[in-house]
């Protein structure tokens, strides 16, 4: 830097070169003079040329030119007549010229030699630098490789642990790539050639359309995939696979789907078991509800039976009259048939409540559910001296739901409300059932005028085994919650402005789970 900044000032090394030029030429002359004096030999020219060569080697072109000039000066001064003067005799001009040419030739030769030596040196330096760089890069690569191997090991371990495989699928050329775990998840031999055809052969026949549909969609330019399908292992057992992938482009024009395949069999099995347990629990709770409605049920069945008996007896009396009144007999028999049908309807309704059938989701008018629930609880309402009011929205949109399950929720909430008003004597025991809807959901509310909710209990109301009643099981509201949540809805309780509490649940018009 310094040299470049002060480039007009020769560098110390250059000065040394010039110094060396003066010294070496002077020394060469002195030695030659001494040799001339003592040994009578005359090695002037060769020694001077030697000194020039030395300077050229040591100091480069500048000093060597100085040395050549100095040597020419000494040559003229000490060796050419008249000696001791810088004048040149005409006869000696060729000698001087020859000497100058020779020295310049030596200078140029030396300079060329020096240049090539220098470029050789710089080439060597460059080479060394690249070797050092290569060594550094190599070291870094080695470190990265170790790191990558570790990451790969982690990834593989994670894939094994989570039963998740990664895969790639080149749409053009129909090439499928799988991670190691992928072969385990799909239960495919590692040496087997993977293709869409193989996948379609191994997917569960009932889910083949799902996979085919996704493949078609991808071929048509679909971007993301997210689906589930059942898969057959080589032994024929069923696995549930969840596939998520998205479209990528590593090479132009070669679209590829990259994603993950998760083996969710355990999750699905657990869900199924949970579902079955919940269904059994819900059924048990329905039975319990029926138990609490015992008096109502007996009455509901007994009432038409009493009608049948009395009508039958009256009919016999009309027949036994001196002039049998057949019209009256017919009327009595018609009423008997009607009552018998009514009794069997009651039994059918009750059987439906406890029947062990899997939940069936059908489009449902919640107002119907409310009306049926009220019909089942008619007697309970009377026994408890409840003033039952309804406020049902007209033209309620349909929800996709299981009739029996939701009937159970409404019955549970109504029975709850009635029980909350058991101790109420100073005001009407008003039970209000409301339905309403907006664009996204249908809401059913059951409002009582009972003892209300304790703030401390609010958070735990819907927990299993939480109850404020003596002899209560604490399952009712928790069952309600699991039913409502299974339908993609939610349930909540809130205190009224006046006495009592309101329990409400909302069901979405478009359950998200259904695709």
């Amino acid at each position: 830097m310094l040299t470049s900044r002060l480039s007009w000032w020769p560098s110390p090394f250059a000065l040394l070169g010039y110094g060396a030029a003066i010294v070496s030429v002077t020394v060469a002359l002195t030695v030659a003079l001494l040799l001339d004096a003592f040994l009578q030999s005359m090695p002037y020219v060769s020694l001077l040329l030697c000194s020039i060569m030395f300077v050229a080697w040591f100091g480069g072109l500048g000093p060597s030119l100085l040395a050549a000039a100095l040597a020419a000066l000494y040559f003229v001064f000490f060796l050419v007549d008249p000696i001791g003067s810088i004048a040149i005799a005409t006869k000696d001009i060729p000698r001087v010229v020859l000497f100058v040419i020779t020295s310049l030739f030596v200078v140029s030769l030396s300079a060329a030699q020096r240049r090539s030596a220098e470029s050789l040196r710089s080439a060597r330096d460059d080479l060394q630098a690249s070797v050092r760089e290569l060594a550094r890069v190599n070291k870094a690569l080695l470190a990265e490789n170790v790191e990558r191997k570790r990451v790969e090991a982690y990834l593989e371990e994670a894939q094994t642990l989570s039963h998740t495989a990664s895969f790639g699928w080149k749409i053009v050329g129909n090439q499928v790539f799988l991670s190691k775990e992928g072969y385990r998840v799909l239960d495919v031999d590692r040496d087997q050639k993977l293709s869409i055809g193989l996948l379609l052969r191994r997917v569960h026949p009932d889910d083949k359309h799902i996979l085919q549909n996704e493949i078609d969609r991808a071929s048509r330019g679909g971007l993301d995939q997210n689906y589930e399908m059942r898969w057959l292992t080589s032994t024929g057992t069923i696995r549930h696979l969840h596939v998520r992938a998205h479209r990528m482009q590593f090479d132009p024009g070669e679209d590829e789907f990259v994603g993950a395949v998760m083996d969710v069999t355990d999750t699905r099995n657990a869900e199924e078991a949970l579902g079955a347990t919940q269904a059994a629990l819900a059924r048990a709770a329905r039975m319990a509800t029926l138990g609490e409605m015992g008096a109502s049920i007996a009455h509901e069945v007994n009432q038409p039976l009493a009608g049948i008996v009395t009508n039958g007896e009256a009919g016999l009396r009309w027949l036994d009259r001196k002039e049998p009144e057949l019209g009256e007999v017919r009327g009595a028999m018609e009423r008997m048939i009607r009552d018998a049908k009514r009794a069997s309807q009651v039994v059918e309704r009750l059987r439906a409540l406890v029947r062990k059938t899997p939940a069936k989701r059908l489009p449902l008018d919640m107002n119907d559910v409310i009306t049926e629930s009220i019909a089942l609880l008619q007697r309970e309402v009377q026994t408890h001296r409840i003033v039952l009011k309804t406020d049902l929205a007209r033209d309620l949109p349909l929800v996709l739901a299981d009739r029996i399950e939701l009937q159970q929720v409404v019955i549970n909430l109504m029975v709850n409300g009635m029980q909350a008003m058991e101790s109420v004597t100073d005001r009407p025991r008003l039970l209000l059932v409301r339905s309403s809807a907006d664009e996204t959901q249908v809401v059913v509310a059951v409002q009582d005028a009972g003892v209300g909710l304790e703030p401390a209990a609010m958070g735990r109301l819907f927990n299993p085994f939480f109850t404020t009643r003596d002899g209560g099981m604490g399952m009712g509201l928790s069952i309600c919650r699991s039913i409502v949540e299974a339908h993609g809805g939610h349930i909540w309780a809130s205190p009224n402005e006046g006495p009592g509490a309101s329990f409400q649940f909302a069901l979405p018009l478009q359950p998200e789970a259904v695709q």
């Binding site: 007996a298 009455h299 009493a306 009608g307 009395t310 009508n311 009256a314 009396r317 009259r321 009377q382």
Partner: protein, 218 residues
Amino acid sequence: MSRAPQPQVPVKAAPSVFVVDDDPSMREALDSLFRSVDLQVELFASAAEFLQHRRPDGASCLVLDIRLPGVSGLDFQAQLQKANIRIPIIFMTGHGDIPMSVRAMKAGAVDFLAKPFRDQDMLDAVAAALRRDEQAREAEKVAESLRASYELLTAREREVMALVTSGLMNKQVAAELGLSEITVKIHRGHAMRKMKARSLADLVRMAENLGLHPPKTR
């Protein structure tokens, strides 16, 4: 026998049965049953409906479901008693209503029948209830005419009647009222004639029936 001559007894309203039950099939069945034995029947779905209906003069009884919408059968029984409407009640009870039935009987119900009941039991109960109502109506009629006769008595005659029927001698009555024995005898004679009493014993029974008490002068 359809157009047989009417019984010569003075025209008397046919006995009627009132049925109050919120269950239509039970109402219709009872209607048929009672008509098959030539009873007049009126059907009501609620207690309020029955109260709005004007009751005829003849003997009647009420067949009442113990569980009714709005007001229970027992409360209705109490309401009727409070309103001084005396009508014999037969309760029909459903399943497991024994405690209510006991209360109903204690409150003066004629009978209670658990659904489903035997038709004969119901008809017997209704017959008994109608008989009871008939007797009550007779007694009421007698009491009515007694009260009418009693209205004719002067204040003094009433005093004399009350004291005489409480068991005092004429002399004691005279002393009690500060009258002469003769005057007492005259008042007593007037009272007996106006009350159509054949003997003193007759007059005593009438006083009892009217609920007379001797005036407390001391």
